[in-house]
């Protein structure tokens, strides 16, 4: 049900964009009028979300420690998995963000009732797919800068060259296109076939996956089958990027389907699960040093609480304490 709703939504959005691309008025709407607000929602939404997290204080330093603490000088500290200062934290966060360090630990636990045995195997499928997807996405974004920037920066050309190292097909097939689509299919397949993951999945899980698949497939089709006129598209995108939108004639209608899905992704991004992208940077179990006993952490909203002070305690027990030979404050 949740996947069908998501699939229908993505399909419908694609068709709307595609049909829009058939007429001049539609081209204006989907090529110019929608991308701008979409970008505004994306940026504004993300800033809003990040600020909403940043505004909430971190009352306690609750690092999750994944290795030996810094204690006695002759005991080897796990400086990255249990950082005691900023350098360790920076490396820990970098590993988390760049290579998904925590996911790399993933295991699969399996219970064998007959043998009364619980076994653990490494389980790197999710990590590999996540890496393939996110890094491909980044490379694809960099490659797309070709369409927005004139002249094309050298770094973009370099990335494009490297990405096309297979040197097959005309135009050449990019490695990241294949990885991107394959990873998305794997992630979607896993979500559908793994009974536990399927059980917890929401529209917010299926919709972005399908939306990204739609964007990937339409982009792939544009390049390799429709062989869309890149010059016209570049003219449009450069115009958008320089706030002087122009609408060249004869852009393939499929492009507007593609662009509309991208616009929808931008709009959706700040509202759903995709905010995990900026969110990971703020995670207090990862971005704080485990130095609680060395450096005091201050809770900004700390308030006095009712306690049971010693004088009250002694008042209750004084006679018994004296009888038991315990020293007391008030004789």
């Amino acid at each position: 049900m949740k996947i069908l709703v998501s699939l229908a939504a993505v399909g419908l959005l694609f068709l709307v964009g595609l049909l829009g691309g058939l007429g001049r008025a539609g081209e204006v709407v989907f090529g110019v009028l929608i991308p701008y607000p979409a970008l505004v929602v994306f940026l504004g939404g993300l800033i809003y979300r990040v600020l909403s997290w940043a505004k909430a204080p971190v009352p306690f330093r609750i690092t999750t420690t994944c290795g030996q603490e810094k204690s006695l000088p002759w005991i080897k500290q796990a400086k990255i998995d249990n950082p005691s200062g900023l350098p360790g934290v920076v490396i820990r966060m970098a590993l988390e963000v760049l290579v998904f360090r925590s996911l790399l630990r993933n295991t699969k636990a399996k219970l064998y009732p007959a043998e009364n045995r619980l076994a653990y195997g490494t389980s790197l499928g999710l990590w590999a797919a996540a890496m393939a997807f996110h890094w491909s996405m980044l490379v694809i974004l960099i490659r797309h800068l070709r369409l927005a920037l004139s002249p094309v920066p050298a770094v973009v050309t370099f990335v494009e060259k490297a990405d096309g190292l297979l040197e097959t097909g005309v135009p050449v097939f990019f490695v990241t296109t294949i990885l991107f689509l394959a990873a998305l299919v794997f992630l979607l397949g896993r979500r559908l076939l793994d009974p536990q993951v399927r059980y917890i999945s929401l529209v917010d899980d299926y919709f972005p996956l399908l939306l990204l698949l739609g964007i990937g497939l339409s982009g792939f089709w544009l390049r390799h089958f429709a062989k869309a006129d890149v010059v016209g598209i570049k003219e449009l995108v450069v115009g958008l990027a320089s706030f002087h939108p122009v609408l060249p004639a004869a852009i393939h209608p499929l492009f507007f389907g593609h662009l509309f899905l991208v616009s929808m992704l931008l709009i959706y991004f700040p509202f759903g699960k995709l905010v995990h992208m900026p969110g990971v940077f703020l995670s207090p179990t990862r971005n704080l040093a485990n130095n609680n006993r060395r450096v005091r952490h201050v809770n900004p909203w700390d308030y006095p609480v009712k306690t049971h002070p010693y004088p009250e305690y002694e008042d209750e027990w004084r006679e018994k304490m004296k009888a038991a030979g315990l020293p007391v404050e008030k004789a």
Partner: protein, 548 residues
């Protein structure tokens, strides 16, 4: 016929058949199955009254009506809104989960039980679904399709069941790519239930005791004198040494704070006897306190405010007695509080000095601000400097493994010190499989207030991963003792080992240290601290024992 609160009620082959396939019905349509053995009795009104907590009332988990306050929905939603503003962790953990499922089979309760709501992700969704409905745009628009739902009385019941089926062990947070910490979610969930007067008695009674007596077990000051004096006699029988018991001693250098489980229940008492012996041997100028008689803090399992209310006594007592620094005993969650919370909630402790070992002169820079060190840090330093006279062969009949307790492992990272100490006092040490130790260690199944007998089914299920790993080293290496530096472990792992790996005994580390230490003026040691004959040591003709 055994009852659900007895181990004999549960057959291993039945528990091992834990079905990990989710039910046909969606989780929102699957009601809670309150079967005896899987839930904990409600907090009694008298305990809530002692603590001044809202809506104290008598109720039963099986009642249809839990007698919530009239405007309970408003209370919960306002409570959520307030906490979303006060805790970045809570707000972020509500927003950033992508439901990748990496946490699912990391939870001991899910592994041993198969209930999908014990997957950490779904445990958090129980709360997140309400958050979505009332605090997010997508949730308001899409409703159930996007995992949003109305706050009903059944939701409260579900929260109660599953937030008290989480031991706040944080194992899932090691694996989460966003560092989402279910302990944080559970703690907030329990706080929200608390606003309605819903607690478990096995947590709130110790809290009430701790508030009034200074310890969870309601040992009054004169009771503590008796308890420790009793140990002094046993120590003398085992070693021939009469140790002193400094209590509430003003001007002592060190305030020693153990968990109260070590005062009264085996095998914790042997570790407490170990403390007394070791401190006597070292000539330490220290004191116990009857007022700060407990470092354990079930406030951690109750609310953030309660952490502070209960823990305040420790610095206050250190100040009153005029000690220089604080030494903490072998406890698990106590060390989460002492390490991650105490300095923030009760500090700054600027009236204390940076801990410095009076024997080795080592200054514990890592505790420069909080002024509290772990007894294993203290012992490791002593052994490293050759300050203990050890005969590890006295422990040769022991083949020991070490269970990392959740909080010292994942909220502190004290991994090597206990291993160094154990290896120094035992010749036969064996690690459990690597997926079950250090930061990946498994909970005993009874932490965070869940270690009570009425929860026996969940304790045995939750204890399965640990029990299975113990069984593995038992079969492979002949392991016969499991060492743990946590009072809850020393209580609950006895049950877990008896059930899943019978024959493996549980011990504290200090007990092992004291059994291996050659004390000044000791008689020939033929008995260990449990007053059991040490295997391989026999009575000589002159009545003195000796190594064969």
């Amino acid at each position: 016929m055994a009852k659900p609160d007895e181990v004999g009620y549960y057959r291993q082959e039945e528990l091992l058949k834990a079905d990990h396939q989710p039910p046909k019905t969606g989780w929102m349509e699957t009601p809670v199955d309150f079967r005896p053995g899987s839930y904990i009795y409600p907090g009694k009104a008298k305990n809530l009254k002692i603590l001044g907590l809202p809506n104290p009332h008598e109720w039963a988990v099986t009642d249809a009506d839990w007698k919530l306050p009239e405007d309970w929905q408003r209370i919960v939603l306002e409570g959520m809104a307030e906490r979303l503003k006060k805790y970045r962790s809570f707000k972020l953990f509500m927003d950033t989960c992508v439901r990748c499922g990496a946490c699912a089979d990391k939870c001991h309760f899910f592994i041993g039980g198969g209930d999908p709501k014990n997957m950490p992700v779904l445990r958090a969704e129980l709360l997140r679904s309400i958050y979505r409905k009332d605090f997010t745009t997508l949730g308001k628009v899409l409703g159930k399709l996007n995992g949003a739902r109305e706050l009903t009385a059944d939701v409260i019941k579900e929260w109660f069941y599953y937030f008290y089926q989480c031991t706040e062990c944080r194992r899932c947070s090691v694996f989460c790519p966003f560092g989402i910490d279910t302990a944080e979610v559970t703690m907030i969930g329990r706080e929200l239930l608390g606003l309605l007067g819903l607690y478990i008695n096995w947590a709130i009674e110790p809290v009430a005791n701790c508030y009034r007596f200074g310890n969870h077990l309601a040992i009054p000051p004169h009771g503590m004198v008796d308890t420790l004096e009793f140990m002094v006699d046993d120590i003398e029988e085992a070693t021939g040494i009469r140790v002193e018991v400094p209590l509430n001693k003003k001007g002592a250098e060190i305030l020693f704070v153990p968990p109260s489980g070590d005062y009264v229940a085996a095998p914790g008492i042997y570790t407490c006897m170990g403390y007394l012996l070791m401190f006597h041997e070292l000539g330490l100028d220290y004191t116990f306190s009857t007022y700060a008689s407990e470092g354990g803090n079930f406030g951690l399992f109750t609310s953030h405010e309660m952490i502070k209310r209960l823990n305040a006594k420790i610095y206050a007592e250190a100040k009153r007695l005029g000690v220089k620094w604080i030494l903490g005993g072998e406890c698990g969650h106590m060390w989460r509080v002492l390490h991650q919370y105490m300095n923030t909630v009760n500090g700054p402790a600027d009236f204390l000095e940076v801990p410095k070992s009076p024997i080795t002169g080592t200054v514990f820079e890592n505790a420069r601000s909080a002024k509290v060190i772990h007894i294993m840090e203290f012992f490791a330093d002593l052994i490293r400097h050759g300050k203990l006279k050890l005969d590890p062969s006295r422990n040769d009949h022991i083949r020991v493994t070490f269970h990392d307790s959740c909080n010292p492992a994942r909220a502190m990272g004290i991994l090597e010190e206990p291993r160094y100490v154990i290896k120094s006092v035992c010749n036969n040490f064996f690690e459990m499989p690597e997926n079950t130790i250090r930061e990946q260690t498994f909970c005993c199944g009874g932490g965070a207030g869940l270690g009570t007998d009425e929860n026996m089914e969940m304790r045995l299920r939750g204890g399965l991963p640990r029990g299975n790993a113990v069984r593995y080293v038992q079969q492979r290496h002949g392991v016969n003792q499991l060492a743990a530096m946590c009072a809850i472990d020393r209580a609950t792992l006895v049950t877990v080992c008896d059930y899943w790996a019978p024959g493996v005994k549980v011990t504290g580390i200090t007990e092992l240290v004291a059994n291996a230490t050659i004390f000044k003026g000791e008689k020939k040691r033929t008995l260990n601290l449990r007053l059991e004959p040490i295997p391989g040591v026999h009575q000589d003709e002159d009545g003195k024992g000796g190594q064969p």
